[in-house]
């Protein structure tokens, strides 16, 4: 590949060639990024809750079954958290083709995004559950609450601020992952920055893509912060 940025052209000018920007394509790419992020966040949210619950509930149980579940889940969580995303997505290409039917486009990015982020969020959920005072769980038990009632009436509401903060962090990482997925064909702003910005030497397009990604991230962060503030009644 040839790095063919025009020599001699003023750097500032390189970043402000707005005539190079096809705004319709930018908008389409933004929508793809938002779609990929949103769809995977929703899936990661539920999958992560299940993983967090499994890890938490099997943690101190003495039965063999619980021990096996705990080891198994912990193993998968640790493995998938350790694989670099760019490698994971390539690794999963055959799998993606099997369940999505294709390996390009926004939908094709989603399986890898979910598998990469769910273990991470699952750990955050587990940590949130562990922060709950054991005495509160004991109190619920002493009132005759069943396991399900404890999960839905105590564990989830009491750890809600941690869960919301956790999903916010996870969503922001996911936006970053969609850009990487975009480079190998999943579409979105990452794809735009790579194909048009990098390969066709249009730094302005890259800059515009960057700004749009930043806007998405800021919106997520601000929304998350407001939500946490609203659900946290601890102080």
């Amino acid at each position: 590949m040839i790095w063919n940025v025009n020599v001699g052209q003023n750097i500032f000018e390189q970043y402000t060639e707005f005539s190079e920007v096809n705004w319709l394509r930018v908008w389409a790419a933004t929508k793809e990024t938002v779609f990929m992020s949103f769809a995977s966040v929703v899936a990661v949210f539920f999958l992560g809750l299940v993983i967090g619950l499994l890890l938490f509930e099997t943690q101190e149980q003495k039965s063999l079954f619980s021990k096996i579940i705990n080891r198994l889940v912990a193993f998968f969580v640790n493995v998938f958290r350790s694989i670099p995303f760019i490698i994971l997505i390539v690794l999963l290409l055959p799998f993606t083709k099997e369940i999505v039917g294709r390996i390009t486009g926004p939908v094709a990015g989603i399986p890898a995004l979910i598998i990469a982020a769910a273990p991470f969020f699952g750990r955050l959920v587990e940590t949130g559950f562990r922060e709950i005072d054991r005495g509160v769980l004991e109190a619920a038990e002493s009132m005759g609450a069943s396991k399900l009632e404890i999960i839905f009436k105590v564990l989830l509401p009491e750890s809600l601020p941690s869960i919301v903060a956790g999903i916010t962090t996870t969503a922001i990482s996911l936006v970053g992952y969609t850009a990487m997925a975009g480079v190998i064909g999943a579409g979105g702003l990452g794809n735009l920055a790579y194909l048009e910005g990098f390969q066709r030497s249009q730094p302005t397009v890259t800059l515009v893509a960057t700004v749009f990604i930043l806007i998405i991230v800021f919106i997520i962060q601000i929304t998350g912060d407001i939500l946490v503030k609203n659900v946290d009644k601890r102080s």
């Binding site: 004991e138 109190a139 038990e141 002493s142 009132m143 005759g144 069943s146 009436k153 509401p157 009644k233």
Partner: protein, 346 residues
């Protein structure tokens, strides 16, 4: 109401086994406030948790009414727990719920219809004196208010028994008194059986009818609170009572030891007066009658639910026989005398 028969609880891990509760048999009557006192690690926490099945005994039986707690299925145990309220040292409220929602919690678990729930919660909040704070979150309440929410929550399903796990141990003395008064009031109004564990003798003295003293997993002394206060038998019981009598108990011990050293010939006594007995001028009578001097070291008065107890530390100086006679005289005058020797029992 509550019967424990030869209850044992053993905790074991790889390294060693600990006998947390050692062959405890107790019987607690309906409508009684029953106190269990012991230092931390005495097994009282484990014991109270066996009353609602949070811990299961290694052997022995726990009966609540006619039900054997250890023989229930999980579902039966959950239903039974709804009839046994519990309050905690650290309140254990759900911070994500308001006062009212916290009180509603056990009602939701018992599947009480919504309208009834709200009505009941309102009544309970009134009972514990928290009107106007229904919508507050626990973080906005003081310790005493939090414990009131805990009490309201524990009473939600009209329990037959209320278990108090060090319920006043993290409260200041004034708030402790208020909460104890509330518990006493509830006990009288609802004829509710209350079991409380504590390490503070003043809690026992103020509201309990009967008390069990626990040490190393065993109940070493048990009886009516007044009787135990008047005639403690075990060293540990005496120590608990002295701790309550003299809040600065360490100091008194030191002063007593110093006095013993300074006046090896004298005798140190603890005089105990019960109820109205203390009305005649006992000390001046003694001084006039015998050739002795009396040095007053410390004194105080305590009240149990219905009896006043006075306690006075004095030093008698003078002729040995005169002192012996004076002690006899004290006894004749219905004053209880304990001679404090060099080996202070603590």
């Amino acid at each position: 109401m509550i019967n424990l028969k030869n209850v044992n609880k053993v905790f074991s891990n790889k390294e060693d086994t600990i006998k947390a509760v050692d062959d405890v048999s107790l019987s607690i009557q309906t409508g009684e406030i029953y106190g269990i006192i012991g230092y931390s690690g005495a097994g009282k926490s484990t014991l109270i948790r066996m009353l609602n099945g949070l811990e299961l005994p290694s052997s022995g039986d726990v009966f609540i009414g006619k039900q054997n707690i250890n023989k229930l299925t999980n579902r039966e145990l959950r239903t039974t727990r709804q009839e046994i309220g519990m309050i905690f040292q650290h309140f254990n409220l759900l911070w994500s719920r308001t006062v009212k929602e916290n009180v509603l919690f056990p009602l939701e678990i018992a599947n009480v219809p919504k309208e009834e729930r709200l009505k009941k919660a309102e009544e309970l909040i009134q009972l514990v004196g928290l009107e106007g704070r229904e919508e507050a979150y626990p973080s906005q309440l003081s310790g005493g208010q939090k414990q009131r929410v805990g009490i309201a929550r524990a009473l939600a399903n009209d329990p037959k028994v209320l278990l108090c796990d060090e319920a006043t141990s993290s409260l200041d003395p004034q708030t402790t008194d208020n909460i104890l008064e509330l518990l006493l009031d509830i006990n009288r109004r609802l004829n509710l059986t209350i079991v409380m564990i504590t390490h503070e003798m003043n809690v026992i003295r103020k509201i309990c009818h009967r008390v069990a003293v626990m040490d190393h997993g065993r109940v070493v002394e048990e009886g009516e609170v007044v009787t135990v206060f008047k005639h403690p038998e075990q060293a540990i019981t005496k120590r608990f009572i002295r701790q309550d009598t003299d809040p600065k108990n360490e100091n008194t011990d030191k002063i007593l030891e110093q006095l013993i050293e300074q006046y090896p010939n004298g005798k140190l006594l603890q005089l105990k007066f019960h109820n109205g007995d203390a009305q005649s001028p006992i000390l001046s009578k003694i001084i006039r009658e015998f050739e002795i001097d009396i040095n007053i070291i410390q004194g105080n008065i305590q009240t149990t639910q219905d009896v006043m107890l006075g306690s006075l530390y004095v030093q008698l100086l003078g002729d040995k026989t005169a002192i012996e006679q004076a002690i006899e005289k004290f006894k004749q005058m219905k004053v209880e005398v304990e001679v404090i020797e060099h080996d202070l029992e603590r």
